[in-house]
Subunit: 156 residues, 2 copies
DNA sequence: TTTAAATTGAGACCCGATATCAATTGGATG
DNA sequence: CATCCAATTGATATCGGGTCTCAATTTAAA
């Protein structure tokens, strides 16, 4: 059974109807490269309305079929989810994204819960850096653009 | 010297001109409650143009005078920064935000760097949960809205 | 086959944010 | 203090991701 069929099955189980549009969007998503925008999906799934693409993406997000990555330029991209909980390591130069799941945040959240009385539900961790390849090429002066968008993402 | 004057000084040092508009925006920001939107600031700093408010906020973001919090409903809010690196613990019910800085992410990023060859620059961690107060009141059924927006934030 | 409920798509609309550009102003300089 | 110009402003247009509306269509259960 293809990955796509597997998702279709999950859609059905959730009580969603299997429509032509949804199939087309799903196919388009599965055919995307590492990360993409809803716009990319729209172009790849002709004949499906804008609203429907967004609606379908929301469902896929909900089913954890896709996840979102905050890119270094502040734009939100999507990617097909690896199974389970994970985080992203984004290269600020070339934009490649690595997944990682070894997250010691567990102990952190446990401590936090203890200290604050919160019941921790989930967390979102994105890590930014420069990949090995980009580190080896000339450490070129950051462009004005890069600096601007870096500020757009900074949240510490 | 007031907090505001201190920021003004930093603006000058950075080569920014001290204008009436910037003063008004800064005053408005400093007068905000725990977290706020650019719109709030706009209302609080009459006579300053929309674009200028946004521009000033970007500078303040850059100076780390304010930081951004991703609220549970997917909206981006601002808050006056506590000094230095920190993260947010956001209550998904009432929206209150706690800062915390004890972040063991250091060891995680060190491991990551080792494993991937990345040079880690920074990270963004937001934690979502339910605060003590909200946990004690009726654990009411989540509204359709709540579920929808929760999906909007989920990125794991 | 019928039928009610879910879904669709075109388009309006929303909202946060940026771009444009002529008019204004801060502040370094003489 | 007066001059002057680059930085800044603000009105307005525009952008981009996303949602809302609603009549028309489609799904799948009976």
């Amino acid at each position: 059974m293809s990955e796509t069929d597997f998702v279709i099955e999950r859609l059905e189980m959730r009580g969603h109807r299997i429509t032509g549009s949804r199939r087309r969007v799903l196919d388009a998503v599965m055919a995307q490269p590492a990360h993409f925008t809803v716009d990319d999906v729209m172009h790849a799934s002709r004949k499906v309305g804008r609203a429907t693409v967004f609606r379908t993406m929301k469902i896929l997000l909900d089913l954890n079929v896709v996840c979102r990555v905050m890119l270094d330029d502040g734009t939100l991209h999507y990617r097909v989810s690896t199974r389970g909980h994970h985080h992203h390591l984004v290269c600020v130069d070339c934009g490649r994204v690595e997944d990682f799941s070894q997250c010691d945040v567990q102990s952190l959240t446990r401590d936090l819960a203890q200290a604050t009385g919160y019941e921790i539900e989930r967390h979102w961790l994105e890590v930014y850096g420069r990949c090995e390849t980009c580190r080896l090429v000339a450490p070129k002066e950051k462009s004005a653009l890069t600096k601007r968008v870096a500020a757009a993402v900074r949240v510490d």
